[in-house]
């Protein structure tokens, strides 16, 4: 059942979308390793792969009756398996937005914007990072703004995701101009300039893959 450019997704489609996203993140492991090696400890690709592999284990073959549980499953898989700062931060990216959300049976652009806005808030609260601190927040925040703007402009789901992807990508580029304030890159000070942040890169890959899946109607079954 390949539907091109769906405008809203069932819980099981959301599941499939994140299975695809996970696949893409795992494929990018060497790339993320290289980025984190330049100014971090080189384990970001490993960590994200562990998290998404755990998510795949917990999503695959399972039926979901609401959107909330899919997000929760992805987020909790990360939190429970990854460890480190990024386990909590990326886990919160999925859990944070649905924590107080009433049960939803379809995911449209408005809900997506709402969920990631909640996630952004939760991450900032948890990790205390703001834009310009050279973290994944630098990619997530513009992505969230793009989603919200797209809702206002009545864009389609795929259009909204493309805007978010572009926003995240711009955020990644911006991180090159910032001095790190969190994580291991922090202690490098000025030496972190010129390098993009690994976590921000992952955020961009996540939005890019979501857009691809929705656009192509790709499915994992």
């Amino acid at each position: 059942m390949a539907i091109r450019a769906m405008n809203s997704l069932t819980p099981n489609q959301v599941r499939d979308m994140f299975l695809y996203v996970g696949q893409k993140v795992v494929e990018n492991k060497p790339f993320l390793t290289k980025i984190d090696s330049a100014i971090g400890d080189g384990d970001h690709g490993i960590g994200m792969s562990v998290g998404f592999t755990k998510a795949e284990e917990n999503l695959k073959g399972k039926e979901f009756s609401n959107v909330n549980d899919v997000f929760k499953t992805v987020g909790m898989s990360m939190i429970s398996s990854m460890g480190g700062a990024s386990g909590v931060i990326f886990g919160t990216m999925f859990v944070g937005g649905v924590k107080k959300l009433e049960v939803k049976e379809t995911l449209d652009l408005q809900l997506l914007a709402e969920i990631f806005e909640g996630a952004l808030e939760a991450i900032k609260q948890r990790g205390k990072a703001e834009v310009r601190d050279k973290t994944m927040v630098d990619a997530l925040q513009p992505a969230v703004y793009a989603l919200k703007e797209s809702v206002e402009k009545n864009f389609s789901l795929v259009e909204g995701l493309r805007k978010a992807e572009e926003g995240a990508h711009q955020g990644v580029e911006n991180t090159k101009n910032y001095v790190a304030k969190f994580g291991r890159a922090k202690s490098l000070g000025e030496r972190s300039l010129g390098h993009q942040d690994a976590g921000a890169t992952t955020v961009w890959i996540i939005f890019k893959s979501m857009r691809e899946w929705v656009e192509e109607g790709l499915q994992d079954d």
Partner: protein, 333 residues
């Protein structure tokens, strides 16, 4: 750097496997979560539980300090990465005897967040939890911002004091108080000579010239205060101590516990040579060494270098430092 490992992804699992096999009379792994090691020995009813933890690669810390008179459980992360909340929570449930549980961990973003989440989850399950975050590394932030400092070798003294307090039957708030006091009274300053490398990446944790050393190096290779030429043991001891003396008031007649801690590949010989000078300097200043510890207490794989830790003692802390300990990797009579 060369490693005797199998699959680099499995080093933590296999180390734990070996560890509990070697020390099965002391500890066991939890069925609920295999990244948890808890004491398998009987402890007093109603004893406050102590859960410690952090990344792997610091052995004998942290898992080596689960045993009589120290911690009851440890949550074990990947190399140099905080454990997730799940093992921390399972450790908490396993060691709680109704009197509550104290978390002691170093001040790192990951540990703060994961222990923080675990504490929230534990409290949702009705377990009282207190957290004490260790920040002894004078190199990592100015004096006015001690709470921002990293936790390094001084963690050992906090485990020691809190473990003794719990063993003596102190209630949770007092165990936490004692742990916080120890942290307040503890200062460490380290020096790095050579890097380690993670099994998974093989990449050295930092670059350093053949006749340089890094003053204030962190336990994961974090840059310190400055890169200076390699110096004699006595001069290095003097410099490290000077940072500590600037940071905490130590007067004639004060009593301290001293720890000279090797980072992994620094021979005991060099550690004792440094200790010799520490003793000399403290004696000159009229500061009395109440107890001293020399050796690899908290390492960074095969990193080269060491740190000096001083903890200013009062009567309560002296009693706690004296309390016996029986752990797989640390015993005190």
């Amino acid at each position: 750097m060369k490693k005797l490992v199998n699959n680099p992804s499995n080093v933590v699992e296999e180390m734990l496997d070996g560890y509990v096999k070697a020390h099965s009379n002391y500890v066991r792994r939890l069925e609920e979560n295999d990244r948890v090691v808890v004491t398998s020995r009987k402890t007093a009813d109603n004893k406050v539980g102590i859960v410690i933890g952090g990344g792997s690669g610091h052995e004998p810390a942290f898992l080596g300090y689960v045993g009589d008179g120290m911690a009851d459980g440890v949550a074990i992360g990947n190399i140099f990465a905080s454990p997730p909340p799940a093992p921390i929570l399972e450790a908490t449930k396993a060691v709680d005897k109704g009197a509550g549980v104290l978390y002691i961990f170093g001040n790192y973003a990951g540990d703060n967040m994961n222990f923080g989440m675990a504490a929230e989850l534990a409290e949702m399950e009705g377990i009282k939890v207190e957290k004490v975050i260790i920040s002894d590394d004078v190199a990592s932030a100015p004096k006015e911002e001690k709470e921002k400092r990293r936790g390094i070798a001084g963690e050992f003294f906090v485990f020691k004091a809190a473990g003794a307090a719990a063993d003596k039957g102190y209630p949770l708030e007092d165990v936490a108080r004692v742990a916080r006091k120890t942290n307040e009274q503890t200062r460490s300053m380290g020096v790095g000579l050579s890097p380690c490398s993670l099994p998974q990446t093989g990449k050295p944790s930092f670059e350093i010239g053949e006749d340089e050393m890094e003053l204030g190096l962190g336990h994961h290779g974090e840059p310190g205060i400055k890169r200076v030429p390699l110096d004699t043991a006595d001069n290095v001891a003097d410099v490290l101590l000077s940072y500590i003396f600037e940071d905490i008031k130590l007067d004639q007649g004060d009593e301290v516990a001293v720890l000279v801690n090797g980072l992994g590949s620094t021979p005991l010989m060099e550690q004792y040579i440094v200790f010799r000078r520490v003793e000399e300097v403290l004696k000159e200043r009229g500061i009395r060494i109440y107890r001293s510890y020399v050796g690899d207490y908290i390492t960074s794989l095969e990193m080269g270098g060491l740190s000096i830790t001083l903890t200013k003692l009062d009567d309560e802390l002296k009693e706690l430092i004296d309390h016996p300990v029986n752990c797989p990797r640390f015993t005190q009579k």
